[in-house]
């Protein structure tokens, strides 16, 4: 065990606690017997609370201080010792805090949300395992350990998506998530091999130390990016994320919004030194494509969780674009803010679903509670959720005074400076990013409008009660965390808390404020459009433009992307799956017909030879004599010739 001694033992204990307690929660949840499974919903959040608290100790004592590392020898690969160690710097400490904190909140929320579930032990156990493996990704000091965590979050995600395993769709979605992730991971693994071959080490602090911008580094970074594509649901491996919404909503909030999917972005930041310019360009392009697809797709959705899922994809795409632009700080800032407001949005959506579901059970009504077209006017019945939704939604939309505004601002600033003064393809990326922010506002507020405004549709007869306190507390906590205060004191400058060194430009801030307001207006008027079409048509050309955009682009493009998604990307993956199964059948057939067939053929050949040699044995002695003599004569003639 090696560590630098600048930190106190208390710090180390806290660090250890924050990492180990989620694991302990996993073990305890399994250890508690079936009879006392209710106890799990106490122990697990409690353990996570302690973990979150101790991680905040870690965070505050480390922030802006020396990086801390601690390592144990894990195993030796042909003379190269491989460590299992923790590497803490600002980045990972922040991430540690975010993960444990949100995880705790979601544990807490789950007490209410998952009450009465038959396999609650498994649920909390897997949440614990997930948190632990996420922390492993966050804190690992080498890529192999990180990969271990990487795979383990995939596993726990699999278990949690498929939590309601009686639902065939859930089982399917879980499988899809894991397999698509594995495809990415295979690339990641190749990246590891490249690193191992060329550097002989997986240690994060040695990455990129070889100054050569060699081709292998491009290859290695792109391979690692493959892993990111899988885990962060980037183009083209993004289809699993919307499907993963089959899992319980808190799980979607934790894993598929706040933490795991962001791990990809985090990984790129961690291994940023490895990425060569070419690789970064690829990253940026992939990111912006994903962001656009996600944003347009979100516009065309009617399922709350699907809208949020596409939104997540879009936001992740934005982060990845920022990474590609070299702005890892900005990307991380957005990751940070996104974690809170998106978790909050999911939890709020979960609260809506939970409440409606319970009401539905009482009223024996049957409709899809996740379909926004069935909802409406809920702001009166669920005021708490409404407020929370507005707050976090604003943050998502990037309205000023919200954290989302600041982080998006950081990204846009970085992108513009990356694009440079002259026009190049990079400006297309910037344009894309602006389109995405614009669309984000549109879909966010359209969703809010659908759920909370207007008249109640199918929900009107239901007696909807407010969510329980255990669910409200996390909601409010996260909603507050989506205010600008999380990032900096100044609601317009994003360079205070997190990264004082980050670049900031007032012009961009101003422009984005205008841009957001424009978007907001568009959103507002497009909402109005459905009621006051004539006025808008006559009053503003902008309105007509937005109308046209919403009608032509805002509806068509999502439809196209949806078909692209459903038919082509998914279709392609399905097709590959079909082809795989087909190939499997073909090889199976080959196995039976040829490989086995050869063997059986050999057997029948042997038998055939046997029956030939046997036919001479027909009991006729004269023929015996003939054959014997004849063989000798043939042999003699053959030799004499």
């Amino acid at each position: 065990m090696q560590s630098n001694i600048t930190y106190s033992t208390f710090f180390e204990i806290c660090l250890l606690l924050s990492v180990a307690l989620p694991l302990a929660s996993f073990i305890v949840s399994f250890a508690i017997s079936e009879k006392y499974s209710w106890a799990v919903s106490i122990t697990a959040p409690l353990l996570l609370l302690v973990s979150a608290l101790s991680s905040s100790v870690v965070f505050f004592s480390l922030h802006d201080d020396q990086p801390f590392s601690i390592a144990w020898n894990w195993f030796v690969i042909s003379g190269h010792p491989l460590t299992a160690g923790l590497l803490l710097n600002n980045l990972s400490a922040t991430m540690l805090l975010v993960v444990t904190f949100i995880s705790f909140l979601i544990h807490f929320y789950s007490i209410g949300y998952m009450a009465g579930d038959s396999s609650i032990r498994k649920y909390f156990a897997m949440l614990g395992l997930f948190t632990f493996s996420m922390l492993m990704i966050v804190l690992a000091d080498n890529l192999l350990l990180l990969f271990v965590g990487w795979e383990l979050v995939g596993f726990s995600s699999y278990m949690l998506i498929g939590h309601w395993k009686e639902k065939p769709a859930a089982a399917r979605a879980a499988k899809k998530a894991f397999i698509l992730n594995r495809i990415g991971d295979a690339g990641f693994l190749v990246g590891l091999m490249l690193l191992w071959t060329h550097q002989g080490s997986f240690a994060l602090n040695q990455i990129g130390l070889t100054d050569a911008m060699a081709a292998w580094q491009t290859a290695a970074s792109l391979c690692i990016f493959c892993g990111v594509v899988g885990k962060s649901a980037q183009f083209p491996l993004l289809t699993w994320l919307p499907d993963a919404m089959e899992g319980p909503t808190p799980v979607s909030a934790l894993i598929h919004a706040a933490t795991m999917v962001a791990a990809g972005v985090y990984l790129v930041i961690r291994t940023f030194a490895l990425f060569t310019p070419i690789a970064l360009d690829v990253v940026a392009v992939v990111g912006i494509i994903t962001a656009l697809i996600g944003a347009f797709a979100a516009l065309g959705q009617y399922d709350i969780k699907k809208i949020l899922a596409y939104s997540t994809i879009s936001q992740l795409g934005l982060m990845v674009t920022a990474l590609g632009a070299g702005a890892s700080d900005a990307a991380f800032l957005h990751l940070f803010t996104h974690a809170f407001f998106k978790a909050c949005l999911f939890l709020a959506a979960g609260a809506v679903i939970h409440a409606l579901h319970h009401a539905q059970l009482q009223a024996h009504a049957h409709f899809d509670v996740q379909d926004v077209r069935n909802l409406g006017g809920l702001r009166k019945k669920l005021p708490v959720v409404f407020i929370v939704f507005i707050l976090s939604g604003s943050s998502l939309a990037g309205l000023p005074f919200f954290s989302g505004f600041l982080s998006k601002d950081a990204i846009l600033t970085a992108l513009i400076s990356w694009a440079g003064a002259d026009f190049s393809w990079q400006w297309l990326v910037v344009g894309g990013a602006f389109t995405v922010t614009f669309l984000t506002v549109l879909y966010t507020f359209k969703m809010i409008w659908y759920i909370f405004f207007g008249s109640e549709k199918k929900t009107s007869e239901l007696s909807i009660s407010a969510p329980p306190a255990v669910m409200q507390v996390p909601l409010f906590t996260l909603a507050l965390a989506s205010l600008w205060i999380m990032v900096s004191w100044n609601p317009f400058v994003h360079t205070r808390w997190m990264n004082p060194a980050m670049e900031h430009s007032w012009s961009v801030t101003l422009f984005s404020i205008v841009w957001v307001i424009m978007a907001l207006a568009t959103a507002y008027f497009s909402r109005e459009k459905s009621f006051y079409a004539d006025v808008l048509f006559n009053a503003f050309y902008v309105d007509r433009l937005t109308d046209w955009m919403t009608k032509k682009i805002g509806l068509k493009v999502p439809a196209i992307t949806i078909t692209l998604d459903k038919k082509w990307i998914d279709g392609f993956i399905h097709a590959t799956a079909y082809v795989q199964v087909l190939i499997a059948h073909v090889t199976g057939w080959i196995d039976r017909a040829f490989v086995d067939g050869t063997v059986n053929g050999m057997a029948s050949f042997v038998r055939g030879v046997g029956s030939v040699t046997r036919t001479f044995q027909n009991g006729k002695i004269q023929l015996y004599i003939f054959w014997s003599i004849f063989t000798i004569i043939i042999f003699l003639i053959w030799t004499l010739l």
Partner: protein
Amino acid sequence: MTLTSFMFYFFEIVAALSAVALALSRNVFYGALLLIVCLLALAGIYVLAFAEFIAVTQILIYAGGILVVIIFGIMLTTKISEKPLAVEHTYLLSGILAAGGCFGLLIYVLSKEYFLTTGVQQLPSSPVNGIQTIGVSMFSKYVLPFEVAGILLLISLVGASVVASTIKSKKE
């Protein structure tokens, strides 16, 4: 052509013809008689090859012994079944193939061989010597095969009697 060489080729032709006739013959009884002719012709050849004792033995044992036994056999087997003595041929093609191949091969190989060059020392001095030598070597050099032949005869007689005894017991 001297008388001896005429005799020699006469015997050769007789032997060859009778053998071929035997092969063509469809009657067992004629076959046995043809074989006797052939064997007698061979005996004649033996005489001309300075093997008088062999010739005599040939006539006595083969013509007089073995073939009589065979003819008895023919009579025994045909009498019971009361079928004609005619014999059909089977596997004619195989037989011709094997025999023809064998004959061709032998003729081919033999025609390439020159036995006289290998080591004819001299003509035998006197025919008397032949029989005497045979007698002597029978009890000196060849005493072991001779004794073993005795055992062979004994055991075949015993064996034949065992086989024959079962025939009798079956009949009863």
